[in-house]
Amino acid sequence: MEGYYLEGDVIVINRELTELDFLVRKFLEILIKHSDYLIVSGFVSIATGRPRGTEDVDILVPVFEEGKFKELFLDLQENNFWCYQGDNAKDVYSDYVKDMLNIRFAREDEMFPNMEVVFINETKKAKYYEFTHPQKMKVKDFEFKIPPLEFEILYKELVLAGDKDIQDAKHLRILFSDILKKERFKECGDVIMTEKNGA
C-alpha cells in the first residue's frame, strides 16, 4: 500500500501510531484548549517516515500574556507534564516566556523526547508565515498541523542545513514529489530568504 494519500486538503500518512505520536497528541490535547499551534521541524520528517529518533518536538505557539500562560502551565502540570525551566508558572513566565525564550516540557519522570515550545509573534516573519499557512496531516485519528511542505523543505536546506536537515529535506522532496508545488516553493523561498538576509 502507498505511504500516504490525500483526503481533501489533508495528507494522510498510512501507518500505525507510535509512542512518539501518543506523546505529541496528549500534549496537543492540552495545548489547544489554550492556544493555536504549529508542529515544525524533526517531527514532520519522522511523522512521514524518516527512520531516526529525536530528543524534542518543536511547536510554534503565539506568545502569551501572563494569565493565559499560567492556565496552560497548570493544565500541563495537572496532566503529568513537567517543565524543564521550573515548577512555578510566574517564574517561568518572567524568566523565559516574556522574552520569548523557548521552554520545554516532558512527561513526569522522563527527559526525552520533550516538547519544545517556541514562542512567536508577527516580528518573526518566517515563523509567522508558516504558522499562518498550516498544512493538515493525519495518522489514523490523530490530526495535527504542520508548515507547508515546501516551506519545511527549504527551511531545512537553506537555514538549518546540517546533515540531518539535508537528509530530512531530501526525504520530504522524494516522498511528496507528486504534490509539491513549484509556485509554493517560490513563495516560501522568498519569505525565508528575506528573513535570512535580515531584510
Partner: protein, 64 residues
Amino acid sequence: MVPKTNLDYVEMYSKKLKTDNRLFSQQKSLIESQIKISQSFFLNSFGENFKVKAREYLRKRGLI
C-alpha cells in the same frame, strides 16, 4: 541505483516508502525502542528527586 552516500540511502528508502508502507513498521520499532531506552536510562539514573537531578543534568548540558 547502488547507494553509496547517506543521501543515496535516504533517496532509496523514501522512494520505496511512496509505494510500500510496510517500511513504517520498522520505523515504529526503531522510534519506540529509542524512547524505551531513554525512559529506562534516565529513570534509573535519577530515580527519586527526578526533576532536581534532571535539571542539574540539563544545566550541565546548557539546555536550561
